[in-house]
Symmetry: C2
Subunit: 315 residues, 2 copies
């Protein structure tokens, strides 16, 4: 059992075995990681944290593999965190097609980790946020956070990143609808993958139109999300995408006010997430028998869930 200081020292020295073990403790919900995490946060802030998201089957894993390869060829170190909120398997498990990243397994400039739902509401996003603190403190040049899913969990995970790549396949009407609502707003760069699909150009056009509309409605948004066509299997368009990612970070550097506003929002979101986790812990740490008997009482309508929550919260 290492001390917090020893964990911090090992992790900031980029000891990947220590980091992997520490991340497993984060995943397990071990409260003893807290002191080290606080210190690791204070040591961080240097990595470029990039999110990659989109619907199932859009080609996220393959694209993540291509980006990793590209960055490695340009001498940058890369950490990949693959998050699957819909899977119960974590850690060493194969998520999506992790195999495509396997050829980096002997490369000390690449760190790959997968993380899955622990079946607890809110818990996954918190664990991802904590893991990003670890990766950031290890000073990987690039940290890629890949996640599948549509909706809240995806949005929550992407909020931990500074550049969100939103992947789309050439698509029919329904998917466009899904892209319009909600998810649109989190994308900093749009990628239409499977560029050889007959519908690809139409998908690009639809996205461009939606972006133009957004820019018109929200002129205060200084960053106009570019749309890039890729073919993640062959690697076509990856250079283009990397250039757009660099542009995104140059934009944040040249607009410190916007970068700062984004950071504030990220930190505020993290604080809210941690607070929620504390509420969860308070429930877990309440005497089980007491909670059980209150729940039994609620089933027969003698009490109600709000009253139970109030009692636990004020304990």
């Amino acid at each position: 059992m290492l001390s917090s200081e020893a964990w911090v020292e090992a992790i900031t020295a980029r000891n990947v075995r220590a980091a992997a073990r520490f991340i497993s403790r984060i995943e397990a919900g071990d409260p003893n990681v807290t002191p080290a995490l606080k210190e690791l946060y204070r040591r961080g802030g240097r990595s470029r944290i990039i999110g990659i998201t989109g619907p199932p089957g859009a080609g996220k894993s393959t694209l993540t593999g291509q980006l990793t390869k590209h960055y490695r060829e340009h001498g940058l170190s890369v950490a990949v965190l693959a998050v699957d909120p819909s899977s119960p398997h974590s850690g060493g498990a194969i998520l999506g097609d992790r195999l495509r990243l396997a050829n980096h397994s002997a490369d000390p400039g690449v760190f790959i980790r997968s993380m899955a739902s622990r079946g607890r509401l809110g818990g996954l996003a918190r664990a991802v946020g904590d893991t990003i603190i670890v990766l950031d403190a290890m000073r990987w040049d690039v940290v890629l956070i890949e996640t599948v899913g549509v909706g809240q969990s995806e949005t929550d995970i992407m909020r931990h990143t500074s550049a969100v790549i939103l992947l789309q396949t050439a698509m029919g009407g329904d998917e466009v609808q899904a892209a319009k609502a909600g998810i649109m707003e989190i994308g900093d760069i749009f990628v239409v993958n499977k560029a050889d699909h007959p519908e690809a150009d139409r998908a690009v056009r639809v996205l461009e139109e939606m972006i133009s509309l957004t820019q018109m409605l929200c002129p205060e948004k200084m960053w106009r999300p570019p749309v890039v066509k890729t073919q993640s299997l062959s690697g076509d368009g990856i250079g283009d995408l990397v250039e757009k990612i660099s542009e995104r970070f140059r934009f944040l550097e040249s607009h410190p006010d916007i970068a700062r506003a984004n950071r504030r929002e990220q930190v505020a979101h993290r604080v809210a997430e941690i607070l929620r986790d504390m509420a969860d812990r308070r429930l877990r740490e309440s005497p089980g028998s007491e909670v059980d008997s209150m729940i039994d009482d609620a089933i027969t309508r003698g009490t109600d869930p709000i009253t139970i929550a109030e009692r636990i919260f004020s304990q």
Copy 2:
């Protein structure tokens, strides 16, 4: 401004205008609804709460419309809550194709409400849970909760119901993958919609296989989810589906131990959700300037989000 007693009286008397106004207050996050909600919970427990979920484009709204029609023809009163976690629009807005339900608008035996994301993490599921308390206290015979989305928010919403109908379209490999992971476990009844699709029978077969596997792995699960083929546009198979829903409720009645375990889980989940909401409230009610200056400090790495959360939580 009504008193809590007056709200409870109006809602339990099935005053739909009062209920609609009260639900709007729930959506707005008004803390003053709490005393009435507690009492409404204690008055409830009579409605059959049914969840309907599945990927975008699977035909959930149309199926909901068909179920509503069927129940009405059999003299049952129906409340419909359509939830769209990916949309920012709520209340009177048209979600999906609400229009298909419009022919019930003059029918006092039908209540239709839509609800969308309020952009707050966790907030939507809590608002849905509270709204179900209202609908249950109004004693609609059937309460249909329809939601789109894949992943956590959908699962959280479905946890408020006693019978979950999981809709699938005839589908390709990716969708089957998505169905396998995570979502599978929440379905009590599987529906393959668009039954005339050439892939429909294959989809039924794949689902049956997955269900058999689940039953084999978890023999303690007494309920074996049936698979129903429907054609929601024409209404084919709806009678079959309704019969399976009735079977589900008969099963719960004849297995009080399982029903009770489900209820315990539902209440425990609700308590956790409300606790998290309380944590959110504590953050919102903290002096803004104080939180802001702590966040600024975190951006320059002088403090960290965990320390900030600890300070707010212990206030």
